[in-house]
């Protein structure tokens, strides 16, 4: 294991990213998708199935977490789905995502509603990760204990910025162990990594240490999920797959609010990694207000009218 780790680190050291080429590629992505009508509606529904419906606020209570879970398990108005013949396809979001303290509430609600929707929890001193390793590990264990099936950990940016990739690798390996059976998503907090090259390196290290997903941001940094940064990360995913045969998922999060953006994200995945990365087991969208906008666009497709927000059931 140690020698493979050293091989990996050599691989990390050779990473080169040309910023302008990445930016140019990112500019082309939105133009690739000119979907209209039922194609657009179908793609929007696909986006819904990839959403990690999220609430991460200081004022979260069992009440609003309950509402969130119920919305996640019936994300689009039934009559709209019916008119597209999609009502019996078991359409839900991919997961709900909450703070560790709210995991138990969410698990309880979903169980009561007979839903098998997984609960995801952020952990490891979210969002800054500036707490002792011991407490960060404990946080993971407690969230898993409470029933979280997915853990979104934040990486230690201090180690990334000071180039201590080996130490970062070791730390994430410990998180992996603490997660046990739960899926682990590693949040890179790209807005604080400085360069694309660092983003690529951090992506590789996170994958080597056993992440099931790599995720762009916490939503709390100044810069969140942008298309260029996503291109760098999905390239790392492809690179990792080509070398090891392991498919790792991707989760952009932070600032994704419109239906149009969600379509660009799907296009980006399709163009860069192919159709397999359009399913929730390899692609998630971390968002809170996105769902409402998608639902309104679907309403427009079905009825030809533009909806007001209050016409859609609230989360």
């Amino acid at each position: 294991h140690a020698s493979s780790c050293r091989n990996y680190l050599e691989w990390v050291s050779k990473v080169r990213v040309n910023t302008q080429a990445v930016l140019k590629r990112a500019q082309q992505i939105p133009g690739r998708n000119k979907n209209k009508k039922q194609w657009q509606a179908a793609w929007l529904l696909r986006a819904v199935t990839c959403i990690d419906l999220t609430t991460l606020a200081g004022d979260d209570t069992p009440g609003n977490v309950h509402r969130l879970c119920m919305k996640a398990s019936q994300p689009v108005r039934a009559d709209l789905l019916q008119s597209m013949d999609m009502h019996d396809k078991g359409l839900t979001t991919a997961a709900v995502c909450v703070y560790p303290s709210r995991v138990a509430d969410a698990v309880k609600t979903l169980k009561a509603a007979n839903s098998r929707l997984p609960v995801a929890s952020v952990a490891t001193g979210f969002p800054a990760g500036q707490t002792p390793l011991k407490t960060r590990l404990e946080e993971v264990r407690l969230a898993v204990q409470d029933g979280a099936a997915e853990i979104d950990i934040v990486i230690n940016r201090t180690l990334a910025l000071t180039g201590q990739w080996e130490a970062m690798y070791a730390e994430i390996c410990q998180f992996r162990e603490a997660c046990g059976e739960a899926h682990m998503k590693s949040i890179l907090a790209v807005g604080e990594l400085g360069t694309f090259t660092n983003v690529y390196k951090a992506s590789l290290v996170a994958m080597m240490a056993g992440s099931d997903f790599i995720k762009t941001s916490t939503g709390k940094e100044p810069v969140n999920a942008t298309y260029p940064v996503a291109i760098v990360m999905v390239r790392a995913i492809r690179d990792y797959f080509l070398r090891t045969g392991h498919k790792v998922g991707f989760k952009p999060a932070g600032g994704i609010r419109t239906a149009k953006e969600s379509l660009v994200w799907l296009t980006l995945m399709k163009e860069e990694l192919g159709d397999e990365w359009l399913r929730p087991h390899l692609f998630r969208l971390g968002a809170s207000s996105l769902l409402a906008d998608i639902e309104r666009q679907i309403y427009h497709y079905v009825t030809g009218h533009y909806a007001a927000y209050h016409e859609m059931p609230m989360a």
Binding site: R16, N18, Q20, W39, L45, D85
Partner: protein, 794 residues
């Protein structure tokens, strides 16, 4: 069938396919209908639809007829040329700012009718970027405004014929037509099939924008026959061509001897290296390959060169990126057969294929295909087949990568990928191509010169550099007189042997001296060993000089090309020092040179002294210029740096005029050599002695052996030999009408830059004794080719 293609939301939800893209062509159709579906010629500011002409049908991608265009006759051509010639009086007399404003007004016209234009381009299968056209107009409007301020000693040529091949893009056409108009010329555009419709619309918009009638005419039909008819008309001053190589060559041959300069930009079909070094951002490089290499319509044929250390990584990435790509429609009927044959041949030679899917058994499309494991000698590398095929070659070291990229007759462009700045700049310097795209590809902007090296062009488009093809120095008249081609037997030109020297009898008192010629820094006889006699003005035999032929040209070119790269690499200051030593050496030997001039020309001692003096001055002048005539960093619309660099052409053949034999030779020699070229010079057969005497001066200077070579003998014989040597990139010729015709005909392939003169100066050699600044500028611009290096940054 129709029922099964309706996909439900659930179908798409599962498959996640893209929907069909529908592009409307309603606006374009409306315009075409307004023209009754039959487009006329655009002559003298309006559409004319002469009766009884053949028509040609323009088809869209599905083969349906879009509309018809007229096949113009000689009569139509002559109307358009005379309209252009009379339009020239009005247009060239306007103040610069009025011309500039007209171009700017077209920008708003374009913005109004942009939809119509892009739909028409799509219909005619010649997609073009609307924003690129706007950029062209804005850029050249600026030059129209500033012509008199920044190019004061230059004047427009007159009526310019802009000719493009059938497959050429609208951008390339406008890159010729707009600078011509901006400089005050009038233009007859002869568009190809694909550009005919958009060019006609643009002409109409131009007139709406206030362009006077006759300034821009568009004549459609068979490009080559129209072009030669236009060239034959004595009112035409210049013909410039953009497009494929084949038609360009034919155009040169068809117009040889008409006395009109013709230049070619082979903007299509060049083989261009796409070089991926180990230090590259491999993913971005592979993205670039995917984006550019398999397009249905692409301007160049890429050749993927990958450093061996990253070959596996690149191949793996290509495989994964190409998976799921769809087959690409082929351009022409018979292409599929050619593609199949090429792929089969490559496989027989051991190539492995990267393909997203197996090709359908028949049909006019083919999947994108990378041919791995090719060698430079493979037929699909030497003559690339059509279709979405990309040969992949590997190289070991950085130097080998550049060598591999250079090993082709083409010199249009190269794309190179590395994160190592030093390597990028070194490779950019080493590649003999007109455009180097670092970590990018296919970037164009009119502010940068586009000047293909080697066989890719013999003129420069774009940038300030590209304006000069549409201008001439105000002080001089065109150097070629209008003429009709004579029935020259091209295979026999220059093959006559010189008159043999026979013993003159027993007059031993004044045995004429035998001179030697100068090859590779050594004085030598001709290979054949024979000599010709040089006569004094009174007809007496003054001396004997070698009668050089093909073998001597071969030796001289070999000596020149051996030393030229090193000479070019030396710093300009270094070259300047060498030229100073040449000037000093001439000062030392001024008496000898004056004496030889005197005996050769019979001019008074005072006059020959003056010629020597002026020659010395020319040497000092160009020594000073060496490090002053440079390129620079140009502002481009995107972020990053773009460099424009003048580079030596290589070996230049100079066939010298009879007049001012020393001064003309020194003036041309020093202009070429100062810019880093090596020269093979052929002194006037009438007055060769000063040049032969000058060999002493060369030998006592610091100029490296081989940079200057001097061969004497028959002008036609040596011209023929120079024209048929592929290493020679340019020929500067003073001589007969037939010689000009021969060169125009022969130097189409391999392509050479020609600078032709077949008139003795009427002003008593003032171009030599008192050259105005614009003439000196023309000399150095004739001695260089341009390279653009793009280094985009974030």
């Amino acid at each position: 069938m129709a029922g099964s293609t309706i996909k439900t939301v659930y179908d798409i939800f599962q498959s996640m396919d893209y929907g069909p893209t529908s592009s409307s062509t309603a606006t374009a159709q409306a315009w075409l209908e307004h023209q009754s579906g039959a487009l006329g010629l655009f002559i003298d500011g309006r559409f004319v639809l002469p009766a009884g002409r053949q028509t040609c049908s323009v088809t869209d991608s599905s083969g349906g007829s879009v509309c018809t265009t007229v096949c113009a006759t000689d009569e139509d051509v002559s109307l358009s040329v005379s309209s252009g010639a009379s339009g020239f009086k009005a247009w060239s007399a306007l103040p610069c700012h009025v011309r500039a404003k007209t171009l700017l007004r077209l920008v708003s016209g374009l913005q109004r009718y942009g939809q119509c234009l892009s739909e028409l381009c799509d219909l005619a299968q010649s997609p073009s970027s609307f924003s690129a056209l706007v950029r062209l107009l804005q850029y050249y409007s600026g030059w129209a405004q500033l012509r008199d301020t920044l190019l004061p000693d230059w004047t427009p040529r007159g009526l310019v014929a802009v000719v493009v091949s059938d497959d050429c893009s609208l951008y390339s056409l406008m890159l010729k037509a707009l600078p011509a108009l901006a400089m005050g010329n009038t233009v007859v555009v002869i568009p190809g099939v694909e550009t005919a419709i958009p060019a006609l619309l643009l002409a109409q918009l131009f007139v709406e924008a206030g362009l006077p009638a006759g300034v821009l005419n568009v004549v459609t039909g068979n490009v080559l026959s129209l072009a030669s008819t236009v060239a034959q008309n004595p009112l035409t001053s210049y013909v410039t061509y953009s497009g494929n190589k084949n038609d360009g060559e034919k155009l040169c041959r068809a117009t040889a001897g008409m006395g009109v300069p013709v230049s070619l930009s082979i903007s299509l079909g060049a083989t261009c290296p796409f070089i991926i070094f180990e230090s590259a951002d491999i993913d971005s490089a592979v993205d670039g390959v995917i984006e550019t290499a398999f397009k249905k319509k692409r301007e160049c044929q890429w050749l993927l060169c990958v450093q061996e250390s990253v070959l596996d990584i690149v191949v793996a990435r290509l495989k994964s990126r190409m998976a799921g790509m769809k087959s690409v429609p082929l351009q022409k009927e018979g292409d599929r057969r050619l593609v199949d044959a090429a792929v089969e041949e490559a496989q027989q030679q051991g190539a492995t294929l990267i393909q997203p899917c197996a090709p359908s058994p028949s049909g006019a499309s083919y999947p994108p295909t990378v041919l791995c494991g090719m060698a430079p000698s493979c037929p699909c590398v030497v003559t690339p087949p059509p279709g979405p095929l990309l040969p992949l070659l590997s190289f070991r070291s950085q130097t080998e990568g550049v060598t591999l990229g250079n090993h082709s007759p083409h010199g249009y462009a190269a794309s190179l990928w590395t994160e190592d700045l030093t390597l990028a700049l070194e490779a950019a310097k080493g590649l003999s191509v007109g455009s180097v795209w670092v970590n990018s590809h296919s970037v164009l902007d009119p502010s940068l010169p586009l000047s293909g090296h080697k066989e890719s062009s013999n003129c420069t488009d774009g940038g300030k550099e590209g304006l000069f093809q549409f201008l001439r120095p105000s002080s001089s008249s065109p150097s070629l007189p209008r003429s009709s081609p004579t029935s020259l037997d091209y295979s026999r030109f220059g093959t006559a042997t010189s008159a043999a020297i026979i013993p003159q009898g027993p007059d031993s008192s004044s045995c004429p001296r035998s001179y030697l010629q100068y090859v590779g820094g050594k004085q030598c006889k001709s290979e054949s060993g024979s000599s010709v006699s040089v006569l004094a003005p009174d007809g007496a035999v003054l001396a004997y000089c070698p009668d050089a032929g093909r073998k001597d040209v071969r030796n001289a070119v070999e000596a020149a090309i051996k030393v030229q790269p090193g000479w070019m690499k030396r710093s300009p200051t270094d070259r300047a020092q060498s030229l100073f030593t040449l000037a000093k050496a001439l000062e030392m030997k001024r008496r000898d040179l004056a004496a030889s001039l005197h005996s050769q020309t019979g001019l008074s001692l005072e006059e020959v002294d003056k010629e020597v003096e002026l020659s010395i001055a020319q040497l000092y002048d160009w020594a000073a210029r060496c490090d002053k005539e440079t390129g620079g960093i140009l502002p481009v619309p995107q972020s990053g740096s773009a460099l424009s660099i003048p580079e030596a052409l290589g070996v230049v053949g100079v066939v010298l005029p009879d007049s001012s034999p020393l001064l003309s030779m020194v003036s041309l020699l020093v202009a070429a050599v100062a810019m880093g070229n090596a020269v093979v010079m052929v002194p006037s057969p009438k007055n060769p002695l000063p040049a032969l005497e000058f060999i002493q001066v060369l030998q006592s200077s610091d100029i490296p052996a081989g940079v200057v070579n001097i061969l004497t003998g028959g002008r036609d014989q040596l011209t023929q030999a120079l024209a048929n040597h592929s290493v020679i990139k340019a020929i500067w010729y003073w001589g007969s009408v037939e010689g000009c015709q021969y060169l125009q005909h022969t130097c189409a392939s391999p392509l050479k830059n020609l600078w032709l003169h077949c008139l003795e100066e009427k002003d008593g050699g003032r171009v030599w004794s008192q050259p105005p600044p614009s003439l000196l500028e023309e000399r150095w611009r004739r001695a260089v080719q341009w390279k653009s290096v793009w280094i985009p940054t974030a």
